[in-house]
Subunit: 418 residues, 2 copies
């Protein structure tokens, strides 16, 4: 039965990934003992997730992403990335009052500029940096900054479908009079000002994107580049858009630290984004900024010191992991006539100096046959996914987040912390 095949498929993927993860983990412990180049000889604790067995009545949650796959790498880095914060540090609200973004820690600013220079994914010189409590807050800060305070009508906010499923809710939840969600950018043809959100690589389908709305002279652009890092896609050129959003969650995996940043070309836009964050949360945790600075510092150091081909290079290591996962996923999909996956162009990556195709942190899986509402069907089999309808598409498209999202799906439904 086709339905049963879907369930078997998901469980097969899961068990394969878990077995592989266990083997990789053991191999990494062995490697870490042998090499001290960028790692440590301290043995990491065994990962609690991958030692758990998966029973047939387990709930598999492929809806929410959670970057716990990155944990084993940071374990291997050992004390290099640890920071100690004393009780008397960082009491003040202020970080640098000579900066437009007065709550931006200078050390964090320095490491943000450095990582972009090392990776080559964005121009950071001559840009203002605004730090945020994750990139969601920066997204809202950008809407606030780019919407005139005294306009008669709220600003239109659009994005090309399939778009990041949280954009409509983030735009609408306070019923702001400054801006409103106006849907698919491809269908937007009003002669009115608008903000277009360009997510590249795109969540959920992983493609590199450019602005699409037709009336460019009335439009302002916000580029969400959260996934524009070399483990996911080829770095073809440094991005140099007006407003670019990044987050450590997607770059290094430190989602719990809630740190994002915006590179902003225009001084007044940076000032208004800062004002939003001042009103919303009176700045951003210094503890987290200092920690993110340390992580980025180690990351840049490792990129600069590791020889090509060595897995101690963070991006090389995780590009390898993503390649393995995508190879397995494509292998399984190929053996079934139920599904298809997007095909990505092979592109030259300036960071790695070679060609490869995109391997997003999520899979945008298309059901080919009789299953009209995959989300409901899979839910009845205890597999939770996010239907394509949340992304502005028909329900047979679903975001199968089976790649980096698998580990958490078990742990948080079973009450075990990752």
């Amino acid at each position: 039965m086709a339905h049963q095949a879907v369930v078997s498929y998901c469980r097969f993927i899961q068990s394969q990934v878990m077995n592989r993860a266990r083997a990789q983990h053991e191999q990494q412990i062995k490697k870490a003992r042998e090499s001290k180049m960028c790692g440590t000889d301290k043995r990491p604790d065994p990962c609690p997730i991958i030692t758990k067995s998966l029973s047939s009545d387990s709930i598999i949650n492929l809806d929410h992403g959670d970057p716990t796959m990155y944990k084993e790498y940071w374990e291997r880095m050992g004390d290099k990335c640890s920071i100690t914060i004393t009780g008397w540090q960082s009491l003040s609200y202020f970080s640098n009052t000579s900066n437009i973004c007065w709550f931006l820690e200078p050390e964090f600013e320095k490491e943000v500029r450095r990582i972009h220079s090392v990776v080559g994914n964005a121009v950071a010189e001559d840009y203002h940096i605004v730090v945020g409590n994750g990139s969601s807050q920066l997204f809202q800060a950008a809407l606030y900054a780019l919407s005139p305070a005294n306009a008669l009508q709220p600003m239109n906010v659009v994005s090309a479908a399939p778009y990041y499923s949280s954009y409509p809710a983030l735009t609408e939840f306070l019923k702001s009079g400054l801006y409103k969600w106006a849907g698919d950018a491809c269908n937007f043809d009003k002669e009115e000002p608008y903000i277009e959100l360009v997510t590249s690589p795109n969540n959920p389908d992983g493609f590199i994107r450019e602005a699409v709305a037709n009336c460019r002279k009335l439009g302002k652009l916000v580029h969400d580049l959260a996934y524009y890092w070399p483990q996911y896609t080829a770095i073809t050129a440094p991005a140099d858009h007006d407003v670019m959003l990044f987050t450590v969650s997607k770059c290094t995996g430190h989602a719990g630290t809630r740190i994002g940043w915006a590179l902003v070309k225009d001084r007044e836009v940076a000032r208004k984004m800062t004002k939003f964050i001042e009103l919303n949360t009176i700045g951003v945790s210094k503890d987290s900024q200092l920690r993110a600075a340390k992580i980025l510092q180690v990351l840049s150091n490792c990129c600069e010191c590791a020889r090509p081909g060595e897995t101690e290079n963070f991006f090389e290591h995780f590009r390898g992991q993503m390649t393995e996962r995508w190879d397995r996923l494509r292998g399984v999909v190929k053996g079934s006539d139920l599904f298809s996956l997007p095909e990505y162009p092979v592109e030259f990556c300036n960071f790695f100096g070679d060609f490869f195709e995109a391997q997003p942190a999520f899979a945008w899986l298309k059901c080919r046959e009789e299953i009209e509402d995959c989300e409901s069907f899979l839910k009845s089999h205890k597999i939770i996914t996010r239907s394509g309808r949340h992304f502005g598409e028909i329900p047979s498209m679903l975001e199968l987040a089976c790649l980096i999202k698998i580990t958490l799906s078990i742990s948080y439904y079973k009450g075990c912390q990752p």
Copy 2:
């Protein structure tokens, strides 16, 4: 000349506080060497602020508060309050998925409940705890949670004047269709639903408050209890309101860590506040929650272990400091016919087991004579204050934030980090 007297007065206060701070700091270093009870024998670094001299053209900023006065205490606590965060900790978005507030760190929750039990300033048992990026975010979360999603009109938001000067901006900056600023609660007489913000002790005047709006059955209350700690006011009873907001900034001085919490009686309100924070910032920094938990743990320990009268008890130490500052301020004001200060009732404090009168973190100074706009006048003399008009009052009332706010005023205008 009266004008000159104002300037002299401010500079006198400043120099007195600085001299005193220097002397106290030296004494504390000496004490820390002698006693190890709750402190450390490690000598803290000299405070850079109090070794700076004040020139006649320095700008004195008494507008923004910044709790850097607390730094010397935490220095004396030494490594007791330090935390080390490894690179592989806290990667996940999730803290506790069995809690309504799924991003609340269990350790932080535990220490919040404990400190309220130790101090006796609020009932925490049977309340839901929602953590926020400071109490400003929780204030917005409360407005979101208490305003019906589908009402025809935005909810009225009121507070009795003089009210916290940021309330109108925080309520209005996104032009939300869910709620709107409706001004002074004392003047609110519409037969419409409303949210009343009750700040107690009140910012800016320091008085204990209760709800005042007339049509109670249509009203919902949010109690901002940021200053309801025993260094500022007598703890007369554990507060048990529906929604109570607190922040570490005002309790322990750790403003840069951006951690606040709400005690919420109703499950659905807690769920909606959590939803706001999920949409706004996808949770709250785990690093900061862990740090705040550590600080609160040491605070509770010190309260429980220090003998009465010992300055190692945090609250006793800072009650003493606030008393000294208020004594000096009252002495200066008494010798002038230009100003008057509020008189606070003497009340029994359950925490200290004695009587004392409130000594807020700011002074609500009233000009008696010909100076109609104190803010403008003092600004021309390089003294920055916040006029009473920001608090819903006439301009001759000003918030003279000369107590704990003095140290930062020098450092951040001179580019020196506190």
